[in-house]
């Protein structure tokens, strides 16, 4: 039944190929400052400093160079800090990058490992946009060195597809990186969510 008290939502449209000079201007070298960037932290943010890196792949297995990714996560204690930017806390928790400035079309976010929120396993929320996508897609990053099978959302995913939500921990040049590729299609198609 149609709920007559509700307004019709504004339909989504693609972000298109030319978002960078507005949404990720500093990253791409445009003369316009960015409120949001690829760092979710400042240097004195409490927690284990990590990098989240990976590619977005299309159905032909090619890397996508005009995607935009947003991450949203809790702090090291598992609290979402919704005031951005905050005066008393250097943690931002929200980040945004395009995939067009790295030669291999990778995104690399700098952040800290989030704490567990309300009994869920530590995770980062992902919002994905790109040319050729008419509506944003949501997914989640879980961590390969955490216990994930007690997490209700994770467990609600078909068992054979759960691995698409797990970022793999690697130590590279003294940094801790979590590798998280997003596959739009194919055998390893990432699990996307509907809200």
């Amino acid at each position: 039944m149609m709920d007559s008290n509700k307004l019709q939502l504004t339909p989504s449209q693609t972000v298109g190929p030319f978002f960078a000079y507005s949404l990720t201007a500093e990253q791409y070298g445009y003369n316009y400052n960015s409120i949001i960037n690829g760092s979710l932290i400042n240097d004195d943010t409490e927690g284990e400093q990590i990098y989240i890196t990976g590619n977005v792949f299309d159905g032909n297995g090619n890397t996508i160079m005009d995607a935009m990714i947003e991450l949203w996560q809790a702090d090291a204690h598992g609290n979402y800090i919704t005031r951005y930017p905050t005066a008393h806390n250097t943690f931002k928790g929200f980040g945004r990058l395009g995939t067009g400035t790295d030669a291999a079309h990778r995104f690399t976010f700098k952040t800290i490992k989030p704490g567990a929120v309300n009994g869920q396993s530590p995770h980062i929320n992902v919002i994905l946009f790109m040319r050729g996508s008419l509506h944003q897609l949501y997914t989640r990053i879980y961590f390969s060195d955490e216990i994930n099978d007690t997490d209700a959302l994770f467990n609600s995913v078909d068992a054979e597809r759960r691995q698409t939500l797990i970022a793999q921990r690697k130590e590279v040049n003294g940094n801790t990186e979590y590798h998280f590729n997003i596959y739009m299609q194919g055998e390893n198609e990432t699990v996307f969510f509907h809200l």
């Binding site: 709920d3 509700k6 190929p17 005031r83 299609q185 969510f193």
Partner: protein, 230 residues
């Protein structure tokens, strides 16, 4: 059919083959329904201090030695939840082509002039009534490679970060009566009954006399706001 599905019917499908880039960039498996796990998740609230003085005036925010070329317009409206409640302190970011139909983006190759006094990017936070207002230049149409002689209707891109996780929206605002609507697969990807929701209304009563014509574009975000007031 529950109301959520009804609302979802205004949205374009992920795969819309007439828009060719969707073919290899849209998921092939059904999306997982996880609303119950994410319904209480908020998005960040941005502070006024983040916004620059001319960020909502695209006729000034990249001005070097002249006003930008083109028809000056005012674009304003209200951001609401699906019950019509105004959403304050919502980050609205926009970007667009210049009057000649040229984007400043480095990968853009359309043979139309750049305007040295126009960037085409703006942003602001909605006020206590959920309102935003931009001054800008009416964007031109531009050709793209989707199919032979493909042209995009005039449009302004909008990115909106509301209060709740499901309040995230990126869309495009169009202008009334554009003859390119029927030829544009991105516009046509939206179900027919919902396309008018993307078309701004011309508002003679909102014009700035001797200065700028006005368009109204209201934005309704998915779901109820838990926090209309802080």
């Amino acid at each position: 059919m529950n109301s959520n599905e009804t609302n979802y019917n205004v949205q374009p499908p992920h795969l819309y083959p007439e828009y060719k880039s969707t073919i290899f960039r849209s998921p092939t498996k059904p999306l997982m329904m996880v609303k119950e796990y994410l319904k209480d998740l908020s998005l960040p609230a941005f502070g006024e201090s983040a916004i620059g003085k001319f960020d909502n005036d695209l006729t000034k925010n990249a001005r070097k030695n002249h006003d930008p070329i083109g028809e000056r317009i005012k674009v304003s409206g209200k951001v609401m939840d699906e019950y019509g409640r105004p959403l304050r302190n919502v980050l609205v970011e926009i970007w667009q082509a210049n009057a000649a139909g040229r984007y400043i983006h480095k990968e853009e190759i359309h043979d139309a002039p750049l305007d040295p006094n126009f960037l085409g990017a703006g942003r602001m936070l909605t006020d206590n009534e959920g309102r935003y207002q931009f001054f800008t230049i009416k964007p031109g149409a531009y050709p793209w490679g989707n199919h032979f002689n493909a042209w995009r209707p005039n449009h302004i891109h909008f990115s909106v970060i509301g209060h709740q996780f499901q309040h995230r929206l990126i869309t495009q605002m169009y202008f009334p009566g554009d003859p390119l609507f029927e030829f544009d697969p991105i516009f046509q990807s939206v179900p027919k009954h919902a396309r008018e929701l993307l078309i701004a209304k011309f508002r003679m009563d909102w014009t700035e006399p001797e200065f700028a014509l006005a368009y109204e574009f209201n934005i309704v975000l998915n779901g109820k706001s838990k926090t209309p007031f802080e």
